[in-house]
Symmetry: none
Amino acid sequence: MTIVHDLTQQLQRKNDSKIVLLVADGLGGLPLTPGGKTELETANTPHLDALAGRGSLGGSIPVLPGITPGSGPGHLGLFGYDPLEYRIGRGVLEALGIDFELGPDDVAIRGNFCTLDAQGNISDRRAGRIASDIGAKLCEKLDQITIPGVEVFVRPVKEYRCVIVFRAAGLAGDVHDTDPQNTGGPPLAPQARNEQSRGTAEICVEFLRQARGVLKNDAPANFLTLRGIDKLPAIPRFEDVYGTRAAAIAVYPMYRGLARLVSMSVLDAGQTLSDQMDRLEKVWNDYDFFFIHFKYTDSTGEDGNFDAKVKRIEELDAVIPRITSLKPDVIAVTGDHSTPCKMKSHSWHPVPVLIAAENCRYDNVTTFGETQCRLGGLGQFEAKYLMLQLLAYAGRLDKYGA
Amino acid sequence: MTIVHDLTQQLQRKNDSKIVLLVADGLGGLPLTPGGKTELETANTPHLDALAGRGSLGGSIPVLPGITPGSGPGHLGLFGYDPLEYRIGRGVLEALGIDFELGPDDVAIRGNFCTLDAQGNISDRRAGRIASDIGAKLCEKLDQITIPGVEVFVRPVKEYRCVIVFRAAGLAGDVHDTDPQNTGGPPLAPQARNEQSRGTAEICVEFLRQARGVLKNDAPANFLTLRGIDKLPAIPRFEDVYGTRAAAIAVYPMYRGLARLVSMSVLDAGQTLSDQMDRLEKVWNDYDFFFIHFKYTDSTGEDGNFDAKVKRIEELDAVIPRITSLKPDVIAVTGDHSTPCKMKSHSWHPVPVLIAAENCRYDNVTTFGETQCRLGGLGQFEAKYLMLQLLAYAGRLDKYGA
């Protein structure tokens, strides 16, 4: 139990307030040239600016200064779970992302179909990015694999990606990846990181032995590598630690999975921002806390497409009135990390944060951007402390100590 | 031992420097309208502004972002004691607040007079808020209760509130409140949280049994409930951890008690700021560190009286020359928390901090206010790190590591 949850469990107070946490994935950016503007600063965002005008800005450090997070730690931090305490394997994340209901006996693995050449060396780590329907058919075949004493599940994710789950009492999850991270050599043999995980490593060996036979005629997807082998971490329920009924309105499976990991209610979010807003309006009376996830600020950042990211930010800005017209008591807009187009990757830079609520200490900042956030009233803080502030602004935390 | 004290014990260096920590309780505020000024920004504070001009400003986070502290945790933080590590029960705080000299064998309890109806159910948890003189008389009667092997003290606080202290070797303090927090049912029976506290729970039972008889004709105050049952926490001495002889010049009992808790010398402070300044001047050569507490910035904030808080800040400003004329090496002005008039309560907002000393990194900020503090050279930091900075500016900390 982190100190944050120790405090929120002790101090939580129920009321009728509504909190909206709008996460624009990879929101933070960089200017392309010295003195230039970031993506967010370039975007025309009248509605976000209006929120900035009546709110407080700041910078969120996803994990620690200089640490670039993946989506898992990035979101855990925003949800108030210390990303250095709660660690999520890639396999678990992928399983959550396809709505697979992981249990405590399950070891989850991210599988990547790959291409082996005649010598058994990897010639393509992504099997030519096979289409999703082909991947799905291969998964159906692999799902037939039987290993005595173990339930085996193989489920497609997208293109060359799949999830493998081994279910058996007492399995540990500490096994090294078999993906060598480069081509020209063979996949690595499954190797346990510790004594307790030997059994799991042996199951991996047997699974791969059978998979090699099953897939032998399916080039370019004639084999697969195993990554992020892990079990579900024990994570306290969001409602228990914060006293709010939380709903996740996210389109992409991974973010739905992350919300499910902390036991939010994961709602049907449709495919578009507009669908998400429809859902938000429909369930407004049923929950206290709404996590809304917008993916495309990250994917355009990863693509290095500055103009596209600017447009996506403007697209997000355009739906803000649909949120504010519901009159949330607290609305926070931020990202799980920065994804500067200039870097075409996640980064460690502080993420812009905006909180608009009654009792904000106005900071005379009236536009939402990285430069403005540096001067904002929230200052710079670790993402894991965002939830404390959202609850405070919502009047949902009692005083600490007499 | 916190990391702070681990460092200060290791690095402390003696010299002739003088440090003044002026705490304006609840100093931080909020503007009443967007774009408006806070109480501190509204006040005309030429002397504080002059200090700001030659000092550095910043924002102090009392506990963690979003956490609103009571006076206990607020002051412990300022004194460099992690308020999440050292917890003070309500009973202890009340006892300190009436200058009751708690010892290590004492269990302190906050008592609330209440009204029981004919069925023995609580009909008023505050006994109609009886006048203080009536409460005092009832305490005198209860103070006559004798329990074999235990010294019993009952002292009035104010109106329906009193302090009960049980003194006996080996008592533990983990007993649940007997106040059910609502009316219509009977008080709860004293219940130990652990095996070691069984004896204390039994003493509570016997005390309440006798109290029921003593008070039976004193309706509306015909019984009392017990809250915040606790012992003094073991807190290292201020002088030991910092190497400074510290004096507290505080008018209000609770703050005198908090200073006593960390073993400061608690001096006669009179009744007014002017009395406090007189005392400061008299003892200037006898101590290295001076904690001066000013209550009225908090009480006017709690009252929601913006103009009164502004005036109280100006009153504080007016005595600054009496402090600066003593030529302290370091003078710090801050609060234990914010008490915005807008909220009529303590809040979680960062508290303005001003440190004026030789070797400040001037931040080109020449007025003392929340907006200016956001841009100040000290940045935003947890209150528990203030002492490290005061010692540093006073030249009282050696280099860490070679």
